[in-house]
């Protein structure tokens, strides 16, 4: 009998430990956790109601009652930033997961299915990708009207092909690998092969890609809201805070700072976290034998 060695698999604990040893990854993790906590706890963390008007206290600089000051309608900016984060996170997580799911399914069908179906799907992916995102977004908003749902729809439609294409390429290469042939040789059907053997091997890199896609979606949401095509007022959004502040930038810089800094920090946070995770999960980037 040959004895087995005792081994520790790449469990969640190891990933976290390695993440904490990477300064940038650690920084990213802190920012992302802070955003999630702020978004979930916005109702309890906010000192004021984000939509409560107080016209007598317009455009106040930061002080002890309003930590980030107030906007042109006298609303507490800190409360609006916290609630805006909730919107940003909600939009990005819902639309990124929807796009990821759809992209995965379509990509695997394209990669594993018959040639004609693959060609048809690639044609659709390319056609959708060939619209400039901003113009496409403006057109859709004009047709459907601005709302959260519209933003999410735009994000799903424009990013699904990105995932779809990556999944298709990965599926094509996995399909030719011996373990997939071995499963087929044992009699496994397409659904079993895709669900049990293809999907688990491409989901890791894809999740990392998705985490780096989150800030992009947040900027799309903020951008559209900034243009007045996104979240309807008075619902707070980082984009609309920025837009409001932009109109009064000669009176006070605080609303612009309060709306802009979270966007920058969130982008950095997700990007650093995504890159650190990619380094951890991609064995080709590991130095140690």
């Amino acid at each position: 009998m040959v004895q087995s060695r005792s081994v520790s698999a790449g469990s969640g604990g190891t990933v976290l430990r390695r993440l904490l040893t990477d300064p940038l990854g650690c920084f990213g993790l802190v920012l992302v956790v802070a955003l999630v906590v702020a978004a979930i706890g916005a109702d309890w963390l906010s000192p004021w109601t984000p939509t409560a008007l107080n016209v007598r206290q317009r455009l106040l600089p930061p002080d002890m009652t309003h930590l980030l000051g107030t906007d042109h309608l006298g609303r507490d900016i800190l409360s609006r930033v916290l609630h805006g984060g909730r919107i940003a996170l909600y939009v990005s997580i819902v639309s990124v997961s929807a796009a990821l799911t759809l992209g995965c399914v379509l990509g695997m069908i394209a990669g594993y299915g018959p040639r004609w179906l693959e060609n048809a799907l690639i044609l659709v992916f390319d056609a959708v990708r060939s619209f400039p995102t901003v113009l496409f977004a403006l057109a859709v908003v004009t047709l459907v009207g601005p709302s959260l749902t519209t933003i999410m729809l735009i994000v799903v439609v424009t990013t699904t092909p990105i995932y779809g294409r990556i999944v298709r390429v990965q599926t094509l290469s996995l399909k030719a690998q011996e373990f997939v042939l071995a499963e087929r040789a044992m009699g496994a059907g397409p659904i079993r092969v895709l669900a049990h053997h293809v999907l688990p091997n491409l989901i890791g890199p894809l999740l990392i890609l998705a985490s780096m896609e989150v800030p992009v979606v947040i900027t799309i949401e903020s951008g559209l809201s900034f243009l007045g095509l996104g979240v309807r007022p008075p619902t707070p959004s980082w984009g609309s805070i920025l837009n409001d502040g932009y109109n009064f930038i000669r009176d006070t810089p605080w609303p612009v700072i309060a709306g802009g800094v979270p966007i920058v920090l969130t982008t950095l946070g997700f990007t650093f976290l995504g890159e650190a995770l990619r380094d951890i999960f991609d064995p080709r980037l590991q130095r140690e034998p």
């Binding site: 040959v2 130095r287 140690e288 034998p289």
Partner: protein
């Protein structure tokens, strides 16, 4: 007797890893004399790759030289600067790797690559090209004058390995390191490449360090053989002595496992039960003890490298006992 071209003395290399220090090479002594072909035999994990990397100064960043020297043309390569090493690698020590498919640059023509490697020569481009064509003809590329302008992908695997050998020998190196040069090739091509290497040795008056796990190739090509196991040289001998009178039990078992030596219709095929020791926690005494059919109490202390005479040494307490 002239000094050896390559003299590896007491070389020990360890890798830092999460599981601690892996002692990949321990007290390795290997000499390659002028115009000799020395074969290194060993299975996966024996330290062949680490040895070649150490000679070429291409050890991984987490590798650490614990002791020893690599003497080549009067200096210690382990102490050489990166610039000195670059001057040695290529013109003085040429290397052929296992995979001919990736050894050539796919976006440059063979001519460009073969002229480029002569950059230290003062000759004009025409002379360099002529030398390259002559070399390609020599290694058996038909229509070399025309085909030299082709790109690597236009050649088959066997042809590519011929080109790689030609490129390696173009600068008349003092030492050629061939790292499993035929493993990726079919058996009929393998025979051709080994034949080519044997032909070429006469012309370049160079020495060859030939690394392989194939005992048949070693027997056919080499003058001396070094057997490695788990990072140690366990036996070193002239080729006839090694094949006809192996002294170390590992060598004996390895030879017994070679299906080309086994009598026809033997079943079950001989194997060496057990596995390699853990390099991070080596057992006391002989490294082969756990798999050795003749292991005894005295094997619990490290066996000395015993000299059996005529350049034949073995790291076994019973070596030379008959």
């Amino acid at each position: 007797m002239s000094p050896p071209v390559l003299a590896i003395r007491d070389l020990s290399v360890a890798y830092r890893s999460r599981r601690g220090r892996l002692a990949a090479l321990r007290h390795v002594d290997i000499e390659v004399a002028a115009n000799r072909i020395v074969g290194i035999v060993g299975e996966s994990g024996c330290g062949k790759s680490t040895l070649i990397a150490a000679v070429l100064g291409l050890l991984a960043p987490n590798a650490e030289v614990m002791s020893g020297t690599v003497g080549f043309e009067g200096r210690n390569l382990l102490a050489a600067t990166p610039a000195e090493l670059r001057a040695v690698r290529g013109p003085r020590i040429a290397t052929i790797f296992q995979d001919p498919m990736t050894a050539l640059n796919p976006v440059l023509s063979i001519a460009t690559q073969m002229i480029d490697i002569q950059y230290r020569s003062d000759e004009g481009a025409t002379a360099k090209r002529a030398r390259a064509i002559a070399m390609l003809t020599r290694v058996g590329i038909p229509d070399a004058a025309q085909r030299i302008d082709d790109y690597a992908h236009r050649f088959s695997g066997g042809m590519r390995q011929r080109i790689v050998i030609g490129m390696a020998l173009l600068m008349r190196p003092a030492l050629l390191i061939a790292d499993e040069p035929t493993t990726a090739l079919d058996v009929t091509l393998e025979a051709q490449i080994v034949h080519l290497l044997r032909e070429m040795r006469g012309e370049i008056a160079g020495s060859i360090l030939f690394v392989s796990h194939n005992l048949g190739l070693i027997a056919e090509l080499c003058d001396e053989v070094v057997v490695m196991y788990a990072g140690e040289v366990v036996e070193r001998a002239p080729v006839r002595a090694l094949f006809h009178a192996p002294q170390h039990p590992y060598t004996r078992l390895l030879l017994a496992c070679d299906p080309a030596r086994v009598a026809e219709g033997t079943f079950p095929l001989p194997t060496i039960p057990g596995g390699l020791p853990d390099l991070a926690a080596l057992p006391q005494g002989c490294v082969f003890r756990a798999r050795c059919p003749d292991a005894r109490a005295e094997c619990a202390t490290p066996p000395p490298l015993r000299n059996i005479g005529a350049g034949h040494v073995a790291r076994c307490v019973r070596a030379g006992d008959g």
